[in-house]
């Protein structure tokens, strides 16, 4: 076996051991070393050269990046997740015909969908979705993310929150927690438009707080315009005052003049 390859696999083994030990500082260090070493292989993307070891090298590299993605979830670093995922993606798309399928593929793709949802990047979410086959869409990991997006768009926030109980994989927990925060902000935004007032008790339940104190702090920080009195939260101030009655005269003059000019050109 190629000595370079052996070296990488040995380091990779140590890296995996460090992950199980939860020694994340060593992990990140070893990961950067691994990434540098991977650049030495000519069979990896973007070159994709045919070498005698290419299948082996590709599989190893894919494994490394898969672990890198999972590591970034564990150390809760979203930027690292994005970077590592994009490095991993060519192995799923362009190298599809050269490699046996990875058991982690759908789980990681689902994680990525969830990340896009948390960051509210819906356009990218749908772009990624188009790349999946119909069999992939049936996979529980992917299905989970797709259903979440639907409930989210509809406004059925209860369903989003209850989905937290049946996550398909424990790594999903981190993003689901983030999602809960996003959902709270959404609910707060909807409530102030939809209700005139809410009793503190109801508001606490709706915004998923465990104590009234937390609710008061949240409203002070995020929504200072909310008014709390007589055991209720009033949203009156957040609402728009009467519709603007002013005539947008400058804009109208501009428009009319431009019609006149265009008409003159026609005649």
């Amino acid at each position: 076996m190629d000595p370079k390859l052996t070296e990488v696999s040995q380091l990779f083994e140590r890296f995996k051991a460090a992950i199980t030990r939860k020694d994340y500082d060593t992990c990140t260090q070893q990961l950067s070393q691994l990434k540098v070493m991977l650049t030495g292989f000519r069979s990896l993307p973007p070159l994709f050269e045919e070498t005698p070891n290419s299948v082996h090298e590709l599989t190893l590299a894919r494994d490394i990046f898969e672990h890198a993605v999972l590591l970034s979830v564990k150390i809760e670093d979203q930027d690292a997740f994005e970077r590592d995922f994009f490095q991993l993606k060519p192995y799923y798309t362009d190298a599809r015909n050269r490699l046996p399928e990875s058991p982690n593929e759908y789980m990681i793709l689902g994680l990525n969908l969830l990340r896009l949802l948390v960051q509210n990047r819906i356009a990218e979410f749908h772009t990624e979705l188009e790349l999946l086959t119909s069999t992939a869409l049936e996979n529980p990991c992917i299905k989970h993310a797709v259903e979440l997006e639907q409930s989210f768009m509809e406004g059925a926030y209860n369903r989003v929150l209850s989905a937290k109980q049946n996550v398909p994989n424990e790594t999903y927990g981190y993003f689901m927690d983030l999602l809960a925060k996003t959902v709270r902000d959404e609910i707060a935004g909807c409530s102030e438009k939809a209700y005139d007032y809410l009793s503190i008790n109801d508001a606490r339940q709706m915004l998923l707080f465990t104590s009234d104190q937390e609710l008061l702090e949240y409203s002070k920080e995020e929504h200072p315009e909310w008014e709390v009195k007589d055991g209720s939260v009033f949203f009156q101030k957040a609402k728009d005052s009467a519709p603007c009655k002013e005539i947008p005269s400058l804009q109208l003059i501009n428009q009319t003049l431009s019609y006149a000019r265009e008409l003159e050109r026609i005649v």
């Binding site: 819906i122 356009a123 990218e124 749908h126 772009t127 979705l129 188009e130 790349l131 119909s134 797709v146 639907q150 768009m153 509809e154 406004g155 059925a156 926030y157 209860n158 369903r159 209850s162 959404e186 609910i187 935004g189 909807c190 409530s191 438009k193 939809a194 209700y195 005139d196 809410l198 009793s199 109801d202 519709p243 947008p248 109208l252 501009n254 428009q255 003049l257 431009s258 019609y259 000019r261 265009e262 026609i266």
Partner: protein, 488 residues
């Protein structure tokens, strides 16, 4: 996706060809060749465009014997190009060929062949091979031709080259190997850009977009599209395609308003004969309009020749219009194979949300006060906790401005507000403005389209007249510029 190519490519092939027409077709081809020659010598692209158009009319009449006779007459027999091209033609009519060779040598004195003629021969052979479904030969032939095109740098070849790029991509698509040529197309696009070959750029950009979209690579397609140079369209067909691809990309990225504009424009600009293409455009446009919350008129579905193809979309629209989730689900299921063939399945999943919105809007218009439990029942939400779901759905709809109401949490009901008088707002003024802007824009574009092609009337005009005209034009330009300055 394939339909819009099929519209042009799968013309019925007439196999029975009377022998009397053969010489006349050959004659036609020779005329076209001479047209190309004059065009090449005079450096007039216009003539070559006409030649290509005439060739397409002869397409059905192409036969192996005819082609070899033509090759013999315009290319030097024994030359490289000739030898290469003859290889691709089937050998079955060898007998015919010999006769033709003999006659053509005696008839036409062999001239020095131009690169334009050589490329034109490639084009003919390629079209013939594709029509006869000999795809592997077609692939070999097109690849050889593309290699040749990379070396030739003449503006008069560009028109022919653009056609060849198209067939090059087509024969790879027909065999399902589009991914293979992506790198090559990108290289060709770069070459075309460096040579200022705008028609080539236009064609290649479309081919690349098609290539990416074939594999659902919307991200890459959008990145390429947004960075590629844009200019005024040279060919209407290419422009239609571009608009269609653009519309698709924007739909996926949830920019529905822009997507609708591109798709409707593509459907409107497409030639009447391109039925398959127009059907595709309409399908996408219908979905995009539904996603925007509009309900397309019935006439959209009744267009000539489209009733059957648009039937599933008609039923879908109906379900969205009524706001019935149950009906929507059954329609989506009933036609799911069709939707997945159109690759619109994911978009239809997105529609569910609109169905709920429409239902909710109907409820809010009909009732001034309704309990949330009834809302959940009417919307047929099947969930473990329908009232809480209904409440959050209603409050989101209120925030997004879909309905004008308030929710009373303590009593568990929704109170609709009185609908305001729309004429007291700026809404009518805005609608009026957008319509006028559309009409004026249409007029300006029509005027622009009526202009003469550049240089086409130069020869008739004397130097003095030209000076006079230029002066006038300058004055006019100054005038317009001043007018623009006047504006505030």
């Amino acid at each position: 996706m394939t339909q819009d190519v099929e519209m042009k490519e799968q013309l019925p092939q007439s196999n029975s060809l009377s022998s009397s027409s053969t010489p006349s077709t050959l004659q036609h081809l020779k005329e076209i060749a001479s047209l190309i020659e004059t065009g090449a010598h005079a450096r007039e692209v216009r003539r070559i465009v006409r030649a290509v158009r005439l060739t397409m009319a002869l397409r059905r009449k192409l036969k192996a014997s005819l082609l070899s006779a033509f090759l013999n007459s315009v290319l030097t027999p024994g030359s490289d190009a000739h030898a290469r091209l003859v290889l691709y033609l089937p050998k079955e009519d060898e007998h015919d060929m010999e006769v033709d060779t003999a006659s053509s040598i005696t008839q036409a004195p062999v001239k020095h062949s131009l690169p334009e003629i050589e490329i034109f021969c490639y084009l003919l052979v390629l079209i013939f091979l594709i029509d006869k479904k000999k795809y592997s030969e077609a692939k070999a032939c097109s690849s050889a031709c593309i290699a040749r095109l990379k070396i030739i740098n003449r503006r008069t070849v560009d028109v022919l080259a653009a056609r060849l790029y198209f067939y090059y991509s087509l024969c790879y698509e027909l065999t399902g190997d589009l991914a293979e040529i992506r790198g090559n197309l990108l290289a060709l696009h770069r070459i075309a850009t460096l040579r200022h070959d705008e028609l080539g750029q236009e064609t290649l950009l479309n081919l690349l977009l098609r290539n990416y979209l074939h594999y659902n690579l919307y991200d890459q397609a959008e990145k390429l599209r947004s960075k590629a140079p844009r200019f005024e369209a040279h060919s209407n067909q290419q422009f239609c395609r571009y608009l269609f691809y653009l519309g698709k990309i924007r739909t996926i990225q949830l920019e529905y308003t822009d997507a609708k504009e591109s798709l409707l424009q593509a459907a409107r600009k497409a030639p009447v004969a391109a039925l398959g293409f127009r059907v595709q455009c309409n399908k996408w446009a219908i979905i995009v309009r539904l996603l925007l919350g509009e309900i397309p008129e019935r006439t959209v579905f009744m267009q000539k020749g489209m009733e059957k193809a648009l039937r599933p979309y008609f039923e879908l629209t109906n379900a969205v219009r009524i706001g019935d989730l149950e009906l929507f689900r059954s329609v989506a299921e009933k036609f799911s194979s069709m939707f997945s063939a159109d690759r619109t399945n994911n978009l239809i999943v997105r529609l569910r949300h609109n169905v709920i919105r429409t239902g909710l809007r109907n409820i809010s218009i009909s009732y001034s006060r309704i309990s949330l439990a009834d809302v959940a029942k009417k919307l047929r939400l099947d969930s473990p906790n329908p009232i809480a779901d209904a409440e959050s759905i209603v409050s989101k709809a209120i925030r997004d401005g879909a309905i004008d109401a308030t929710v009373d949490h303590a009593n568990g009901w929704m109170v609709s507000k009185e609908t305001g008088d729309i004429y007291s707002t700026n809404e009518p003024q805005m609608a009026f403005n957008s319509r006028i802007a559309f009409c004026l824009n249409m007029h300006n574009e029509a005027v622009r389209a009526l202009r003469f092609p550049p240089n086409s009337h130069k020869e008739k005009e004397s130097a003095e007249k030209r000076r006079e005209r230029q002066q006038q034009e300058q004055e006019l330009a100054k005038h317009i510029a001043e007018e623009d300055d006047d504006e505030f």
